[in-house]
């Protein structure tokens, strides 16, 4: 049995906002434009948790920059029964934005709704989570936005977070205002206005016209934006771009053909030419900075080995590759893959709709805990849940290798994510998994 973490550490991290250079200013409205166009901000929504949910809803645990779980709405936790039963102690004095107190019953109901296979019970000032198999990474799982605590009242989700929704036009616009009673200190901003569903070009135009303060920058435009003198804050390469097969190989021939496909793709050229070095070529599901061993999965083009594999595949049916028609970069990458495989004697037909054999996907990162991220990737790719024998790097490697050996996924790139912010936006911050932390952001008067 172990008990983890302290309240003090969380507080010290959360309150490190003062600068002698200039203390944060209160007030102002932050204007943001994003590509995502969610129909709901509810973290338990059917479409999955939007990253915008973190403005309004909070998790029991947060991961720090090293991917270590830190207390948030929970103050501590302890594992029992070989990591199959967890007791999570809740912070007192937390209220929802409608002034209702956060209690164990509400948290248990919220977690039950998000995790049908968990047994969650309220027990005094704690909740008890029981799982069918050991979950050593459960504290890190609790940091996923899909596990954020929401209380539902009249079909409306209410959170404990730093902002509350003042107006939501699904897919178009989200207006947030500061939660004056936020348990962790009212945010410095008065309001946040978020334009939803704006592609990168539209976001850039809004920024140039002075109509927005923060925009997303596509990986391929990071260097260009920096060269243009914009303040660009970019992450480590994390989002996975991969080819995903709908089904496992049905024959040895197909298995050889998939090997040939994986070896024939020139990831370096795709990263350099198409993505403008806005990512890193990879043969792994997890980026090397997260796993430490990612480099052992080959990412280079090996035409000779690919041809040998192709020769072993005596009968090969052409594949159909579907890509996101709304993303011109996806189209160019799909066309390059088509050319690469042709060099080794394989055929791919491109499609933008309908059934396909394989899809070109980009999967946003969800967790800076390698075990949880691997599990989430497997889920997003339709692969079986990884089996982790332990928590060591060797155990993680074995689990990731097993997923890759299903031959249902061919990793291509890990992409950076980036934002451009105006000079008057201070303390812009995001978590290691890319979640925006806007509660510490403050605005100064923009100098002419």
């Amino acid at each position: 049995m172990r008990r983890c973490c302290s309240i003090s550490l969380a507080i010290s991290l959360l309150y490190a906002v003062a600068l002698g250079e200039s203390r944060p200013h209160y007030g102002g409205t932050l204007r943001v434009a994003v590509k995502e166009a969610p129909a709901s901000i509810d973290p338990g929504g059917t479409a999955g948790a939007s990253f915008l949910a973190s403005f309004v809803f909070e998790t029991l645990v947060r991961l720090d920059d090293r991917g270590m779980p830190q207390p948030h709405l929970a103050t501590s936790w302890q594992a029992e029964s070989g990591d199959q039963r967890w007791r999570i102690f809740l912070r007192s004095g937390v209220t929802f934005s409608d002034a209702a107190r956060l209690d164990a019953a509400t948290v248990a109901a919220s977690l039950r709704a998000a995790n049908a296979d968990w047994k969650v019970m309220a027990a005094g000032d704690a909740v008890i989570i029981e799982t069918a198999s050991p979950r050593p990474a459960l504290p890190a799982e609790l940091a996923l936005m899909s596990n954020a605590v929401a209380r539902h009242e009249n079909a409306k989700a209410i959170g404990t977070g730093p902002f509350l929704i003042s107006q939501f036009d699904p897919g178009k616009h989200l207006s947030l205002k500061a939660n004056d009673q936020y348990w962790n200190g009212r945010p410095f901003l008065d309001a946040v206005e978020i334009e939803l569903g704006k592609n990168y070009r539209e976001q850039s135009a809004l920024f140039d016209l002075g109509k927005t303060d923060v925009i997303e920058i596509a990986p391929e435009n990071i260097h260009r934006a920096e060269a243009a003198g914009r303040t660009v804050l970019s992450s480590r390469p994390f989002a996975l771009m991969a080819l995903a097969f709908a089904e496992p190989p049905k024959s040895a021939d197909e298995s050889h053909a998939r090997n040939a496909l994986a070896m024939s793709i020139d990831r370096t050229a795709i990263n350099h030419v198409v993505v403008q070095d806005g990512g890193e070529p990879t043969g792994a599901l997890l980026p090397n900075w997260l796993s430490g061993y990612g480099f052992v999965f080959p990412a280079g083009k090996n035409s000779e080995a690919a041809r040998r594999e192709k020769l072993l595949a005596r009968r090969v049916t052409p594949w159909t590759l579907r890509y996101d028609a709304g993303d011109p970069v996806s189209r160019v990458i799909a066309e390059r893959i088509q050319l690469n495989v042709r060099d080794v004697g394989l055929t791919i037909q491109l499609a933008i709709s309908g059934a396909s054999d394989l899809n070109l996907l980009e999967i946003s990162p969800l967790s800076a805990d390698a075990r949880v991220q691997l599990r989430e990737l497997a889920s997003a790719l339709g692969l079986p849940a990884p089996k982790l024998a332990g928590s060591s790097a060797a155990d993680l490697y074995a689990a990731e290798k097993a997923l890759l050996e299903t031959q249902q996924v061919i990793p291509l790139l890990h992409l950076k994510s980036a934002v451009s912010v105006r000079a008057n936006v201070h303390r812009w911050n995001s978590s290691a998994s890319g979640e925006w932390r806007v509660e510490d952001v403050w605005l100064s008067a923009e100098k002419p």
Binding site: S12, S291, V296, A393
Partner: protein, 413 residues
């Protein structure tokens, strides 16, 4: 006896040295894991060894790893030799992830399939070095360091000497015993409302009782004896700012016995409403901090406004000084040299690395009287001491994440 004052240079160097010392590498844990695994694959014999570093460790550490691995393999009967005379090639990549060092050994033995071994061990929390120190006459006496935020500190003379440390939710007493501050009693402070996101607080020592505490929306009054008792209530009463220097001011009759200012309870600044006022002036622009500079017949008050400007009040006139680019933290300290009153001010600089400098205010403009000093992190609090001879400062150390409370004094060259 209180610990001797350390020169700032010493203080800064100390902060730099401690994290590096704790980072001194011990690679045995990894070499002891890896060597037996390699031996189990290759058995005794002659192998070629390549080591490639993909991690943040230094070249010297890589050499240390090479030496320790060679030694461990040699003990197991494996001899390292040239590749053309070796029965196996071992390529070891020193890598890392967010929490661990990860070493990967790829072993190629003749026609056999490549074997892959992975071992890992925790990385230290920080491996970043410090910055250069500069010699200055600004002296810092480090008091305590802790993970929880510190809003203000004050030393109460006596036997034993006591240090009051104000946090968000408590005041803690430390006693100076055996040349160190030992933690003693801690008294909780209750809040009816959430504290602001950038919490501030002030300890004000009193003569008829031990002290008053000012926090956003909360006021506390201590008892007048030890052990400490304290009564806290919801309060928006004005905060005493700087009674000390004014109480010892010239007998011109123009000085106030003390100055109090209303604090905005849900924010991080003073509203500017002055009690009783500065001469005829009853208000200043909203501000983060203030510094009195006593003159012969009046006191010049400097206010670091929330508009980023310095505002100067002399009891009759108010002057804005937009060209003075100071930060939000200022405090004045009395010295036995120069003009007698120096102003400590933070300066614009890199985020996360505050800079402080000492100024005199001979007329209506500042004159630099010290070099700029880079602090080891963000300055989160700076309050003038009530003896006027020092200022209490709190820095959040970038390396450790801890809040470091210190007393700042100025000495004459």
């Amino acid at each position: 006896m209180f610990s001797p004052l350390a020169r700032w240079v010493g203080f800064v160097l100390a902060l730099c040295i401690f994290p590096q010392a704790s980072f001194s590498a011990d690679w045995h844990q990894l070499t002891d894991q890896l060597a037996p695994k390699i031996t189990a694959v290759t058995g005794p014999g002659v192998v070629a060894l390549e080591i490639e570093n993909h991690s943040s460790i230094s070249a010297a550490d890589v050499e240390q790893v090479r030496s320790e691995l060679k030694s461990a393999l040699s003990t197991a009967g494996i001899k390292i030799w040239q590749p053309d005379q070796a029965s196996a090639t071992i390529r070891i990549t020193l890598s890392e992830n967010l929490q661990n060092y990860v070493w990967v050994a790829e072993i190629q033995q003749a026609a056999e399939e490549r074997s892959l071994l992975i071992v890992s061990a925790p990385r230290p929390a920080s491996s970043v070095g410090g910055q250069n120190a500069r010699p200055l006459t600004l002296q810092a006496t480090r008091l305590i360091s802790r993970a929880e935020p510190i809003l203000d500190v004050a030393v109460i003379e006596g036997n034993p000497r006591r240090l009051l440390v104000l946090g968000r939710d408590s005041v803690t007493i430390y006693e100076f015993t055996a040349n160190r501050w030992l933690q003693g009693q801690s008294v909780a402070i209750t809040h009816d409302k959430p504290m602001p996101r950038d919490p501030r607080g002030r300890i004000f020592l009193r003569k008829d009782h031990l002290f008053d505490l000012y926090l956003p929306g909360v006021g506390c009054r201590s008892g007048n004896a030890w052990p400490l008792t304290m009564n806290c209530t919801a309060s928006d009463d004005p905060w005493s700012l700087a009674a000390g220097p004014l109480q010892s001011a010239p007998e011109s009759g123009s000085l106030e016995p003390g100055l109090s200012v209303f604090f905005s309870p849900a924010r991080n600044f003073f509203t500017g409403a002055l009690v009783p006022g500065i001469g005829k002036q009853k208000s200043a622009p909203p501000f983060y901090s203030a510094a009195p500079v006593p003159r012969d017949k009046y006191v010049l008050w400097l206010f670091a406004g929330i508009d980023g400007q310095l505002h100067i009040l002399d009891g009759i006139n108010q002057q804005n000084a937009p060209k003075i680019e100071w930060g939000s933290e200022i405090a004045s300290v009395h010295t036995a040299c120069r003009s007698g009153w120096e102003v400590l001010a933070t300066l614009p600089g890199d985020p996360g690395q505050d800079t402080i400098q000492v100024f005199e205010f001979p007329d209506r403009g500042p004159v630099e009287v010290s070099q700029k000093i880079e602090l080891p992190g963000d300055l989160t609090a700076l309050w003038a001491g009530q003896n006027s001879e020092s200022a209490a400062a709190v820095v959040r150390n970038n390396e450790t994440g801890n809040y470091e409370a210190m007393l700042l004094n100025l000495t004459c060259n």
